[in-house]
Structures are given as structure tokens and as C-alpha cells.
Symmetry: C2
Subunit: 327 residues, 2 copies
């Protein structure tokens, strides 16, 4: 049994916890939290919740530690710190800063002899792997990534920071016409606005100026100004009733060209339709935790990405079964 520890206990951690229960070769060893452990109720029976500060006492009882924390302020220091003592997996998703994070984690993991898989999940993660496979096979072509329809936590948080907003939920929605053109192999040039729209469901405080809130949203740089954005005001009850789930998804599409006259279109698409974003992300982290365990067992060390993992190392069954039934 591969003994997994979960560091942090929010939505993603709950997804990881559920995924561990779905894998027969894994067991949850402990959950680590910065909150008072007595206040943290987890779903798995008979598994301890431990104060994050005490994690080092668990070095010999955990094979892989899955770090479930935010990319903005937590993971940049947490993953290098923990990789000094554990084989770790994180879901660092600040794409532009990945090389720096990779180097920081690599220094810690290489020196201490641990394997540290960074930026796992679906984007970065499964989307990245599929971008790479498709571009490697079809170097002549164009790649497109569409996200949604799904809830963006970052954009929802940005709306919540506006004065007068009680709560909000933002959906990223791919523009169907753009997706269709890409799927047909037209290789269109698409602006940010052409690819996605943003739907915002907002609860305003009593007496708040809704017109002002709407203006603050649709003109917000980086988050909304470059998109066609719709704002719908709802009651808190409506938000809870209709927008509590965390669905997501999207598509990576490579539209390639082959033939001596560039006469043939070859369209490769990888798509996700997820009822629960954190549960799917957690499932991917757990599958890659198995690979981290295998690499560690073979004496490997240092930072890794999903690109560095041979798919066979994700497989929980036998090698014979893999060759006979999966190929």
C-alpha cells in the first residue's frame, strides 16, 4: 500500500481524499492542517488530522505527500520546504512562474534525495501533456486551449473584493463558434474576446449600487475588461441553490497540417467535462502520486513535471495486464 499524506484541507484536498479511496493500492496516512486539528472533520474514518507544524514527525509513515495549497503565496515556499523531507506532489498553476518554481523545488529535492512533482492536475497537467503529444506529432499546425464552461475561483474571488459584493460566482464560457472553427481545422486567429465569455452571478449587499458594481466588474483589467462579460444579480439563496457546484472542463485542440502540398488537416482534441473540478484534479494528483512513489523507489530525485513521467508509471495494475489489455 502506498501511504499518502495530504497537506492542507480545502476543496482540492477533499478531492484527493476521495481519489485515494478509489485506488486499491493506496491508503490515506494523515491529513495536515494549519487550523486546530480538532476543528477539521475529514471524510475518511480512523485517519488522524495533525497540526501542519508537526509534519516532520511523519517522515517515516508517509510515502508521498500531496500538497493542497494556493499557488499565489503558499506553494512557492511550501513545496521546497516539504521536498526537503518528503516525496511531494503539488498543483502549482501560475504558468508564467513555473520555471522559477521548478528550480526552487529542484534545489531542495535534489539535495535531500526526494522526488517532487510540480504543477500537476489538468491545466497545468493533463492539458499540458496533450498539448505536447499533439505538437510533437504535428509540428506544422496551431494549438488552441478553451476552458469551460466552468467556475473560475480566481475570477469569483476578484468580484468578491468589490465593495458592496456579498458573494459571487464566475463562469468561464468558451465561444461555441470559435471552438467549431478550430475543430474544422480552419486555424483561425482568435483574440482573447473571440475565445471566451464570462458570466458573473453576483449577490449585492442591501442598498449597494448595482450599476456601480457591474461597471467595476466589466471594466476590471486583466480579469474582465478584455472579455464580453455579463453580470446577473441574484439573491444569496439563489447563489447557494443554483451555483454551489464546481463544474469545469475545456478542450485542447491541435489543428495540424500534413502532406507535401499541405493538403491534409489532422485535428487532435483532448476534452474534459467535469462535474467537480477539485475531485478530478485530486484524482490526477493521486494517479501521479503513484508514479512519484515508483520513481522514488527506483532512486530518482529532484523536480519533475507531468512531461517527465512515463504513462506506465501511473498504472496500478500489472505490467502483463497493461500490455495485454491497454495497448
Amino acid at each position: 500500500m502506498i501511504r499518502i499524506g495530504i497537506f492542507g484541507y480545502g476543496n482540492l484536498a477533499r478531492g484527493v481524499e476521495n481519489a485515494i479511496a478509489k485506488n486499491a493500492d493506496m491508503t490515506l496516512a494523515a491529513v495536515f492542517s494549519r487550523r486546530d486539528p480538532a476543528s477539521v472533520k475529514i471524510a475518511t474514518p480512523n485517519v488522524p488530522v495533525v497540526l501542519a507544524d508537526d509534519v516532520h514527525a511523519w517522515k517515516d509513515k508517509i510515502d508521498v505527500l500531496v500538497i493542497c495549497a494556493g499557488s499565489a503565496t503558499d506553494l512557492p515556499h511550501m513545496t521546497p520546504d516539504l521536498a526537503k523531507h518528503f516525496h511531494v506532489v503539488d498543483s502549482y498553476d501560475n504558468h508564467s512562474n513555473i520555471p522559477v518554481h521548478f528550480a526552487n523545488v529542484d534545489a531542495a529535492a535534489s539535495e535531500s534525495g526526494h522526488v517532487a512533482l510540480i504543477s500537476c492536475g489538468w491545466d497545468p497537467g493533463m492539458f499540458s501533456v496533450n498539448r505536447l503529444y499533439a505538437e510533437a506529432a504535428l509540428p506544422d499546425g496551431a494549438s488552441y486551449t478553451f476552458w469551460g464552461r466552468g467556475v473560475s475561483q480566481g475570477h469569483s474571488d476578484a468580484i468578491r473584493r468589490i465593495p458592496g459584493v456579498v458573494d459571487a460566482r464566475q463562469y468561464t464560457v468558451p465561444v461555441a463558434e470559435a471552438v467549431d472553427r478550430v475543430r474544422k481545422g480552419e486555424n483561425p486567429t482568435l483574440s482573447v474576446r473571440d475565445k471566451h465569455t464570462r458570466e458573473c452571478y453576483v449577490v449585492a449587499a442591501e442598498g449597494a449600487d448595482k450599476a456601480e458594481i457591474e461597471k467595476a466588474i466589466v471594466t476590471m483589467p486583466a480579469y474582465f475588461a478584455d472579455y464580453n462579460t455579463t453580470v446577473t444579480f441574484v439573491t444569496l439563496e439563489e447563489l447557494k441553490a443554483n451555483h454551489a457546484a464546481l463544474p469545469h472542463g475545456g478542450s485542447v485542440i491541435r489543428s495540424g497540417i500534413t502532406g507535401w502540398q499541405n493538403e491534409n488537416k489532422q485535428v487532435v482534441e483532448y476534452s474534459l467535462k467535469l462535474d467537480s473540478n477539485p475531485e478530478f484534479t485530486g484524482s490526477v494528483l493521486v494517479a501521479f502520486s503513484r508514479a512519484v512513489y515508483r520513481l522514488a523507489t527506483r532512486g530518482d530525485k529532484g523536480s519533475k513535471t507531468v512531461f517527465d513521467i512515463a504513462p506506465a508509471d501511473l498504472w496500478g495494475g500489472s505490467r502483463e495486464d497493461l500490455l495485454a489489455h491497454m495497448l
Copy 2:
């Protein structure tokens, strides 16, 4: 430059040849044919066509040999024979016999110190990799593979063997309703007949009994009897005008379940829409040839499958670029 040799020169080999031209880090060293080399016209200028029997003289001039031959009778002996002298890639696609082929090739490649990647392409190949990724992440669920709409060479050949048939082209067509149910996460139980139909375009000899031909097709065991099959008689001119291309495609869909009450559906789909099946298959073989070259450079040896190749080894660009732009 990675020097690629092509062994055999049919449709797939032409696809490999075109793919080499699309990759800046590769060059075609030679084409080997069992036919009289003077009779083989290739597309790449200034590249020799060599008699297959003389291939051993090219040991030091070829980094990876891509074997483009049939799975029924050629590859079972050809890949082990050539793996004694070259790093090789083949597209062996007799799924049920893959473990035997793997073992035979492994014996030859391991002893001689070569890397031999077998069963590459899209099914087996990219479809296999995506089946594995999706099942590893979502162990609780069901997997479905749909092929088409596309030309099946094996089924076209089976029709051609019927007395009175001059030529034929068979399209495998996924049943749209079945695909829709799977995409919705219904996890239906589907029979062979539920999943695909077969469309046959047949040129009958003058005076042949078309009713007899049609009956021979639709009742043919294994190939057509278990499917809803339609037969359309066309002239040879119509066949050449409308059915000369070799399109194909299909989808691998994993419909997984997560959540403690199994309440969330997670649907992962990998799909291909190919104008030219042999050119896409050739493109995949060439991308994996790069990985074979890298493994060989690192001193690896023996049989490999697409499962054993870390995606990073397919990438022709720099490691820095991979981390900065692909993840």
C-alpha cells in the same frame, strides 16, 4: 540531426517520409524496399532507395529505423530481425498478440543493445496512452473506444476477396446516438452492433450477381455479420473519384465517477479527425523515433511501448521552452 531510415515503402512509409520533412531535427537517410530500388520513386530528393537485403550495410548511417510493414506476416519476424542491428519503431497492431511480439522483440533488442518501440501509431498508440491516463485518474468508471468515420483497410480487403468484386472501400462509422450517450456519462452497455455501422462501396464485375455479393458481405462472420452493414454498388470511376482518400479518426472516452456518494460524473475524451490516416500514423511514429533516439543515447535497451516513453522525450525543442511554454 537524427538520421531516420524507412524500411518498406507503402502508404504508411510515405506518411513517415512526409513527417520527417516536417521536423527540423531529422533527416531521411535511406528507404529500404524489397522491390527493385530502381522501380521505387520516393518524394524526398537525393535520398537513396536501397534493396532491403542490403540494410545491414547502413548500421552506422541510421539512428532509428522505422519499419513500415504489415502486422499479419511481416512485422512478427521483421522487427526482431532488424532490432538485432538497429534501434527500431514499428506499428504492430494485432492487439491480442502484442505480449508475444513484445517478448520476441525484447529478446533480440536486449541482447544486441538496441531500443525497439513496438505498436506505435494511434490505435495502438495515442489511443492507448489516453486510455491509460484516463483510467489511471478515474479508476471507477467505464472506457469506450469509437473508430471512424474512416476507411478500414482490413474490411476493404475482405470485400475484395469475394468473387465478382473488382474493388471496394469500407467505412467504419460510429453510431452517433451511442457516442452521445457515452459523452453524457450514462455509462451504457453497448453491443458491437450498437457502437458502429459499416458502409461498403463496391465495384462489381460485369455480369456479377450483385445480390449474391451483398449477401456474402453482410453475412461475413467477424467482419460484417455482427454489424448493421450497408452495401452501395458504384462504378470503378466513382470509387476512384469519391473514395480515394484514407480519412479516419475516432474517440477514446472515459466516463468516470467521483465523490463519496458517486455523485459526480467526469468525462474525458480524446478524439482524432484525420484527413489522412497514414500521414497521421507516420507523424506519430516519427515523434516517437525522437524518443527512441534519446533512450538509445542514454544507453537504454529492449522492447518499449508508448507507455514507457515520458512525453518530454518526444519534444524537439529545448527543456527551457518546454517548462516555460508547454506546461
